[in-house]
């Protein structure tokens, strides 16, 4: 430890600390722009110049190593003179257009210019004008305001893992820009907006919507991936106008994925369902809640009395709140049906994990030195967990993958086994065997990497969970972990992938799981947030099942395709309009309060279920508030989870012909994101293609960009072919969760491709 004195206060800091670190420790604010605790040190803005005793000139606090006995003055006359001089230089070419700048009121330059800027300018020359850049749908630019701190550039290089912006040119002519007309396309791009200390990079969707000080703020939890990012939701006139990260070092750090940040636009979408609706005689009409719920209760009772309660099934998305999932299962069990499931994209239920979770704290990823990721589009499915792995990989974490694709996630991957989905289990077996010495190829390399580690984890991703042999992948992966003494876990797909298990929103004895409810169509369905053609493992079959049912009740914030197949549509609140709880992939229980009043006649889901429970005469539905629901659930802090399984599931036969590799593109994973206008305009939301490697394209006589007809289980889709040379042989990578491919069948399994 070093002892250093700043502004007369002494502090001890570890060797390698900078003066800025020491000042932060003391709570002394040193003005700065380019410095950011998560980025490398650039020392380019010079705003943090401080006086250091015995140094002949002022030194930048951000870059100057603390030394024992060092005496620093951050606010002495020489320090302030240097800081003021820098501020003058920063402002001479800055347009000073605060009144029309979106950053106004929350601008670091504006704030610091109050303390360090002059009342008028000595600069009488012509000012610089810099052309704006089109960075895509999310980031708006006013490059004349840029102060060249390079935070955005460093963010790309160091955090996002892809350098999409650079500082081109030199001297006064330096400009932050992408290459030619490229846009910024990483799934973390919005963080550049937060990092920009001026109004050069601002939020495009939020542009000119409101001033920072007009917004009220609520702390919330993201409803998307399993991370449970903490959000600051910003509101004006009962409308969510912006979402920013709420810093939580243990979860999202100071970052958000673009999905977490920009999907709020979906909350304000014109697709919102605002009133309960009933379809009678083929016509939809708006009704009062009372009418609608009585209609539903009557319908369910009718089905129950004529076909038995097991003719009714409930399907909820894992993005639903814990309270909703709890009440829904309680309702179903109350009316005598065990048919409830929230694992909508799962297809292999032979041996389901008891209570799958990450198997460790999210923050523990940083200390891993070896990891095996099985079946995951890591950065698309878990943008910020991917980032933790990316950062760890820079300091020695060896990343190994088993996937049908070679996507590198912008992470340094040490070894990758690229095999078709039906060969994945075999590959895990080979790795398991190679741990005891035998083996060849990638399996051996991966085994060797894993064996050489001291802190190892085996992680199963969304693809592994959705895989037709999910249970076997689980079994083999856990065996590998066991043998290595490694951590073993699941990268939770959605906000409540853990929570749904905790409240048993899964079938009990004699009940049907999600797949069975589709394979054996029910007479009545309760769809909780679920858009079956987009949210389920077998979209085509799910649609068919809905069309055959007597009564489908769609509880959703959106007027979705249920319009075609449902009988009742009930507007339930999205996360911002209800209190609720998500349990993230590490088992962390996070509750939140609604941020805005429900839109139109929308009602919080838990209240709707309370009324329905009472209408159906189910006992114990007299909750006063959502807290009392949580009290009944009885969990807080960290939930105890269990990744164990009992028996070894048998291997399925290898598929000879073409196989589909299904995946859910990042902005199509849930209803809110699907309706977020700007997100849907990004490169990551582009129209799905049928990706194949060059060998397969050649074999099929298909060229890049040519239209193809895909067939699967009687369903068809027409999309264009595209090249992905990283794909395993005989694989066709086709998105699910997208309307264009909704009529296809299962996410995995045989598929045929014809040239159109």
């Amino acid at each position: 430890m070093l002892e250093i004195e700043i502004d007369g206060k002494t502090v001890s800091v570890p060797a390698g600390s900078t003066v800025m670190d020491a000042a932060n420790r003391l709570g002394i604010y040193v003005p700065h722009f380019c410095y950011h605790k998560k980025l490398s040190i650039a020392a380019n803005c010079r705003m943090c110049l401080v006086e250091v005793e015995k140094a002949p000139k002022p030194l930048p606090a951000c870059a100057t190593p603390a030394a024992n006995g060092m005496k620093v003055r951050t606010h002495s006359d020489p320090a302030v003179a240097a800081q003021k001089a820098v501020m003058e230089f920063l402002l001479i070419n800055h347009p000073l257009d605060c009144p029309i700048c979106d950053q106004g009121g929350e601008c670091q330059l504006q704030d610091l210019s109050v303390g360090y800027g002059g009342g008028d300018s000595r600069y009488g020359e012509e000012k610089r004008v810099v052309p704006n850049k089109n960075l895509g749908a999310l980031i708006s630019t006013d490059m004349t305001r840029c102060i060249h701190c390079t935070r955005c550039v460093r963010f790309g290089q160091e955090i996002a893992g892809v350098m999409e912006l650079g500082m081109a040119g030199r001297g006064e002519h330096s400009e932050i820009m992408p290459f030619v007309s490229k846009t910024v396309d990483s799934e973390l791009s919005g963080n550049m907006i937060d990092l920009c200390p001026v109004g050069a990079l601002t939020s495009k969707p939020f542009r000119y919507k409101a001033r920072g000080w007009e917004l009220s703020r609520r702390k919330m939890v993201s409803p998307h991936c399993g991370l449970g990012s903490n959000l600051t939701v910003q509101i004006k006139n009962n409308k969510v106008l912006r979402v920013l990260p709420f810093e939580n070092e243990e979860i999202n750090e100071c970052w958000l994925s673009d999905k977490d940040r920009f999907s709020y636009e979906g909350l304000n979408s014109p697709d919102r369902l605002e009133k309960p609706m009933i379809k009678q005689g083929g016509e939809w009409r708006e009704v009062e809640w009372k009418v609608a719920l009585e209609y539903v209760a009557r319908g369910l009772k009718d089905i129950s009395s004529s076909h038995g309660a097991s003719a009714i099934g409930a399907l909820a998305t894992p993005h639903s709140t814990l309270e909703e999932l709890h009440l829904l299962q309680k309702l179903m069990r109350g009316i005598g049906s065990e048919n409830i499931d929230f694992r909508l994209r799962r297809s292999d239920f032979r041996e389901a994990p008891k209570l799958p979770w990450l198997g460790m704290k999210i923050s523990e990823i940083a200390s891993l030195d070896r990891v095996l990721v099985v079946g995951s589009m890591l950065n698309q499915d878990h943008p910020l967990i991917a980032n933790r792995i990316r950062q760890a990989a820079k300091s020695g974490l060896e990343v190994n993958t088993v996937n049908p694709t070679s996507d590198n996630f912008r992470i340094k991957v040490a070894n990758r086994a690229v095999v078709s989905p039906s060969e994945m289990a075999g590959t895990l077996e080979a790795i398991l065997n190679a741990l005891s010495g035998k083996g060849k190829g990638e399996a051996r390399d991966i085994a060797q990497s894993l064996k050489s580690g001291k802190s190892v984890a085996i992680l199963l991703g969304n693809l592994a969970e959705q895989h037709p042999e999910a249970a076997r992948l689980h079994y083999l992966a856990s065996r590998i972990a066991e043998k290595l003494g490694a951590k073993f876990g699941f990268l939770g797909e959605a906000a409540n992938s853990v929570g749904g298990h905790l409240v048993k929103a899964i079938p009990g004895q004699g009940g049907m799981n999600a797949a069975e409810m589709i394979e054996n169509p029910r007479k009545g369905y309760l769809l909780w947030n679920a858009e079956v053609e987009l949210d389920m493992a077998n979209s085509g079959a799910a649609l068919a099942a809905m069309e055959r049912a007597e009564m489908v009740v769609a509880f959703s914030p959106f007027r979705h395709r249920a319009y075609e197949y449902a009988d009742v549509m009930l507007p339930i609140a999205p996360f911002t309009e209800t209190s609720g709880t998500f349990v993230n992939t590490e088992g962390r229980v996070q509750s939140f309060r609604g941020a805005v009043a429900p839109r139109g006649e929308t009602r919080p889901g838990w209240k709707v279920l309370r009324v329905l429970g009472n209408l159906l005469d189910v006992a114990g539905f007299d909750y006063e508030d959502s807290d009392s629901v949580m009290k009944e659930i009885g969990i807080s802090g960290f939930a105890s989870c269990d990744n164990g399984m009992q028996n070894e599931p048998a291997a399925l036969p290898i598929i000879d012909g073409l196989q589909r590799v299904g995946y859910v593109p990042i902005h199509f994973a849930d209803g809110i994101a699907r309706r977020a206008e700007a997100l849907q305009k990004t490169a990551l939301s582009s129209v799905p293609c049928a990706f194949m490697n060059a060998a397969l394209m050649k074999k099929l006589g298909i060229g890049e960009g040519e239209p193809v007809l895909l067939r699967q289980n009687g369903g068809e889709a027409r999309i264009n072919a595209a090249l992905d040379n990283g794909l395993a042989d005989n694989c066709v990578r086709v998105a699910s969760g997208h309307p264009l491919t909704a009529s296809l069948g299962a996410m995995f399994g045989p598929i045929s491709v014809e040239r159109l």
């Binding site: 350098m163 999409e164 912006l165 081109a168 030199r170 820009m177 290459f179 030619v180 490229k182």
Partner: protein, 157 residues
């Protein structure tokens, strides 16, 4: 995208550096590409980026930082005249006026026939031979008098 001769030269440059430091050859690669193509189009820079496993913007940063790269097409001959102080003390500004008048173009312009582009340069580190200009980034022409300028221009085809 680049001819095999150029690629061979680039490979030779890459070999100078440690195997995991291919990027070190980017300046040479851009120079070699420019010698083949005359200037660095976005396609050429994109190709170099691919060839050296770099992000295209990282290549562009380099191409736009060092001022001997041509980011726009130039004439068959590029004359870069140093006008810095030591050259100016030895008549560089007179040579500049003479060149401009003779070619009918200003700095950063190209003659109508596309033959000659005139550029103003910064110090070449050859002040003892002032005034100097650089022909196509390669040939240094020094001790320029009007007669010497005439002679050099006459030799350009």
């Amino acid at each position: 995208m680049l001819g095999s001769e150029s690629l061979k030269k680039i490979d030779k440059e890459v070999a100078k550096y440690p195997p995991d430091q291919k990027q070190s050859a980017v300046m040479a690669a851009l120079r070699i590409a420019q010698e083949e193509k005359g200037w660095l189009s976005p396609e050429t820079m994109g190709f170099v980026a691919d060839y050296l496993d770099m992000e295209p913007i990282a290549v562009f940063e380099v191409a736009s930082f060092y001022n001997m790269y041509n980011l726009e097409p130039v004439g068959k001959y590029k004359i870069t005249l140093c006008t810095n102080l030591p050259c100016a003390l030895s008549g560089a500004n007179d040579v500049a006026s003479y060149l401009k008048e003779k070619l009918g173009i200003g700095f950063n312009e190209t003659t109508a026939d596309g033959k000659i582009t005139l550029k103003e340069g910064e110090c070449f580190g050859s002040c003892g031979y002032a005034p100097v200009f650089l022909l196509n980034n390669r040939k240094m022409c020094g001790s320029l008098s009007f007669a010497e300028v005439d002679r050099i221009l006459a030799e350009l085809e």
